[in-house]
Symmetry: C2
Subunit: 196 residues, 2 copies
DNA sequence: AGAGTAACCGAACGATCGGTCGGGACAAGG
DNA sequence: CCTTGTCCCGACCGATCGTTCGGTTACTCT
């Protein structure tokens, strides 16, 4: 009745293994042989679950993109003063980056060699533009400094947030996602300089 | 007497072509066939100038690392109040990133699959630690906020600066390196929030 | 002109690439 | 018991990988 447990791979469980290897060796640097060893099944068996290497990539980046776009649909991202919506989006971005870390990591590293990668880059650009408009609105409200070009500021803020995938590791003992989100919000809006 | 001009490749000129292709397709995604087409010479001719694909990578990341480490040797990075040395290093980092853009881009994308890549990652960590100590000193002076952990702040600032390689393009008409450096310094130290 | 050599080439190397194929092991349902 | 379908396997495919090799072109120097 309830989903009968079977001790075999599904496309989803296989994906989690594949994404991990992709992030360690890079997508192009990962062979199906590498994946089969990491998954503990033969190379040909992988094709029983997925159509090929590229489907694994597509599933992974889709998951990351879905997580990001869902942020923009949330109430706090749609209503209220622009600068507050922006702060909410920044905080939620950190949460999604940390909770979906391996998938977002892969997304942020695609270079556009295949159709799948180019599609991912396009959707990423869409998301960036949506956030840029939020920052633009906050600047128009006078809540955000006007002496730095909006497009430039957006890119730099994205750079700071996206760098999470290069160093954040969900250690049990280490810092939590909440702590990182607080730090990002503080630095993005307040800067390094001590106020005294 | 003066270096007689020859219309052929040297290891350096070949490197500039190779790095460009590496950045477009990714190092692993670039074949020697790709390089030979981009350079306009045959695949085997490449081996007349360099020992192989990995030497090109090593030369490229070395150039990037040398540019970064030279910053730390400069006078303004060695003497003076820590927060001012930090600001100088941040500004110079942006200058090096922009002037050596393709080489630093490649450096920031190595994943550690080969000995060369692991060596590059190690030197990068050294540089990061050196800057982290600068930020730590500035915090001890009370010039930088103490409510964000130094290690975390360093990573986020590096994330913002390093993101340059993802979007900065030296357009003749577009924004210059100076403009970007100003914006980075303003945002890193002052944050987004409008002061009024 | 002739010798020497830097620059280059096409062909081929063994290895590995992503992917295919026919079939075996095994559990579920009759 | 036998059938059915899931899950997996070793063997193999043509293509491409980074690299090597023997040889040719073209420039430099004497």
């Amino acid at each position: 009745m309830t989903t009968a447990k079977r001790d075999t791979y599904t496309p989803e469980t296989l994906l989690s293994v594949a994404v991990q290897v992709f992030n360690e060796r890079g997508y192009d640097g990962t062979s199906m042989e590498h994946l089969s060893r990491a998954a503990g099944i033969s190379k040909s068996s992988i094709y029983h679950h997925v159509s090929g290497k590229e489907e694994l990539l597509r599933r992974a980046v889709s998951r990351a993109l879905d997580g990001l776009f869902e942020i923009l649909d949330e109430e706090h991202a749609r209503v209220g003063r622009a600068v507050e919506r922006l702060e909410y989006v920044v905080r939620r971005m950190v949460e999604v980056l940390t909770s979906e870390l391996p998938y977002v990591t892969l997304l942020l590293r695609v270079r556009g060699n295949t159709d799948t990668e180019r599609w991912a880059l396009e959707r990423r650009r869409d998301f960036d533009h949506r956030v840029a408009e939020l920052l633009k609105a906050a600047a128009a409200d006078g809540d955000v400094r006007g002496d730095v070009e909006v497009r430039l500021a957006t890119r730099l803020v994205f750079g700071m947030i996206n760098s999470l995938v290069e160093w954040y590791r969900p250690d049990a003992r280490g810092m939590g996602a909440r702590e990182v989100a607080d730090a990002v919000v503080v630095l993005v809006f307040g800067g390094l300089r001590q106020e005294r």
